[in-house]
Symmetry: C2
Amino acid sequence: MSGLSVGRQKPTLDTVAAEAGVSRATVSRVINGSPRVSPEVKTAVETAITRLGYVPNRAARSLAMRRTDSIALVMREPDATVLADPYLGNIIIATSQALVGTGVQLVLVNAQNDAEHSRLADYVRSGHVDGVLLASMHDDDPLPRLLLEAGIPTVVGGRPQRHLPGLSYVDVDNVGGAQMATEHLLASGRRRIATIAGPQDMTAGADRLGGYRRALADAGRKADRVAYGDFTRESGEQAMAALLSRHPDLDGVFAANDLMAVGALRALRAAGRTVPDDVAVVGYDDIEMARHTEPPLTTIHQPIIDQARTMTELLLTQIGGDPVGDPVVLPTELVERGSA
Amino acid sequence: MSGLSVGRQKPTLDTVAAEAGVSRATVSRVINGSPRVSPEVKTAVETAITRLGYVPNRAARSLAMRRTDSIALVMREPDATVLADPYLGNIIIATSQALVGTGVQLVLVNAQNDAEHSRLADYVRSGHVDGVLLASMHDDDPLPRLLLEAGIPTVVGGRPQRHLPGLSYVDVDNVGGAQMATEHLLASGRRRIATIAGPQDMTAGADRLGGYRRALADAGRKADRVAYGDFTRESGEQAMAALLSRHPDLDGVFAANDLMAVGALRALRAAGRTVPDDVAVVGYDDIEMARHTEPPLTTIHQPIIDQARTMTELLLTQIGGDPVGDPVVLPTELVERGSA
DNA sequence: TTCGAACGTGAGAGCGCTCTCATGAACGCC
DNA sequence: GGCGTTCATGAGAGCGCTCTCACGTTCGAA
């Protein structure tokens, strides 16, 4: 594998064929594992391949097969804000891991702005990828529809604002998770439970508020202690302070993400409340930071790895020609730590 | 752009040529911006292109040009451990951003284990990418040498353990950063400064310890308050506890990364020391969590975005045929927060 | 006026692979 | 023993693009 003279002309199928004394077609058969090759010829070809250090040219193969064996992971505008949030990085790495062993490659695409956006559609249509995974979408994103219309296999991460028939997506059960978080607070005896909700124009934000409401409704309680943040720690801190002044008697808080929960923790400390004794706090996301807060944050774990893997599997079967399946919603899990 | 009938045969150069009433070669010239095309023909071709919704086929282009306009970002074994560390995610996203506007695509490659490793070399040699960015290398990694020998443009992130002549890399000034951190502690009047060092078989770990030693040596002081961790929070906590028992009089600590600094903060709190009054703490990395600790962590900011961009630029010039330049070492920055 | 350079354009040969179809050998069957 | 099958193999036509080379115009210089 090593001693191949550098700068030597790269071997092609023809080179291998000549070396093995067979035709190009036969070498191709061996490479693609066709059964109709005699054992002797097969080994002859194989030794020729290793002797020459031959590696098939992917571009040529794609061209002939009309298939690229690679998929795109499209991220919408990952700016500094997103960098702070490890979600995207995790999705990327998890997707990449899900692809190990499939022989499919991952191409990362940045749909920076709208100009890039239409270029992206072109790019995808240029046949450089067999399908598309859409992560971190904006709500008004025209991309899913474009791709759908172009007949390109597509899977979206998270529930899109508007449902498009024929578009498959993998969401995490935000309603269920939020409900679970709130029920955990109820189960521990909390009765005056507030929530720090996320932006309501994001499905995750709206769904989590919905879960909080449902849990309280199921328990026959009013769900009227609500403040809104924008998923940043600072907003969580402010929202918590506002909640404390509006509802000084609250004894439990569900924050729609961990970063806001961290802010809430800080606001509670500043207000002289102890966690979890005076006020119990539950977050959402289970980011790394949640393990390291004081006290460690009880939170809802998102199955990001599962989500990425499911998305990948869905996409691959779609590429394989299977019909578009139903959307998948993955369950969440409560991680009990110290804060509730 | 929208009304293209779905399922219609994808247009090729020939289709466009026929539509515009010119030859394939001319269309190719227009697409590639050749100056030797008359304005009338040019516009005729352009309208034909938009009318047909033509998009060049990348595989065919690669095949003809022997160039793919894409590069690989190779990650070594990003398992759960790495997921916790946002470094890799940031490198990925930053690289992807650095590529915006260059027309170059990013292919993410997972070199999971040694088996995958040799497949990776094949993959790269298959001409699917024009060059390779190596992130998160192991020290004994044979990959850089393999790629170098194969004549594939390669840029490594971080200083490799063994220097290979002709291999270009972009490192962050670990020695300088650690020195700066320690000097900051000295400047604030601390005199009995300890360090929680990282693994010494990683260049980042060794270099940061070196910086700590140099700063103290320059100040004419002994650098003998050293404990070792493995870059996890738990190890930082233990190391801090060990330091406190060995050197109860210490008044400053430099931790070789933020996660260990977070552990140190916790150990100090447990020991009843206040930060920064009793003991000042400086971390390294400036991860998101550093903003949210109590008190917020003073730390050394790593220019990850710059690093990714520099690596990308270096690689692109190398691909462009320029000679391999000298390694680049990027400066770090002290971020003063509350802990020191 | 004539010649050569410059320029716009087309024809056609690849790039390295897959896949269909043809071919001829080997085989079982009546 | 002749015939239809099966099977391994080869020839060759693409896949969609770029690029070299040749060709016919046009234009400025001699």
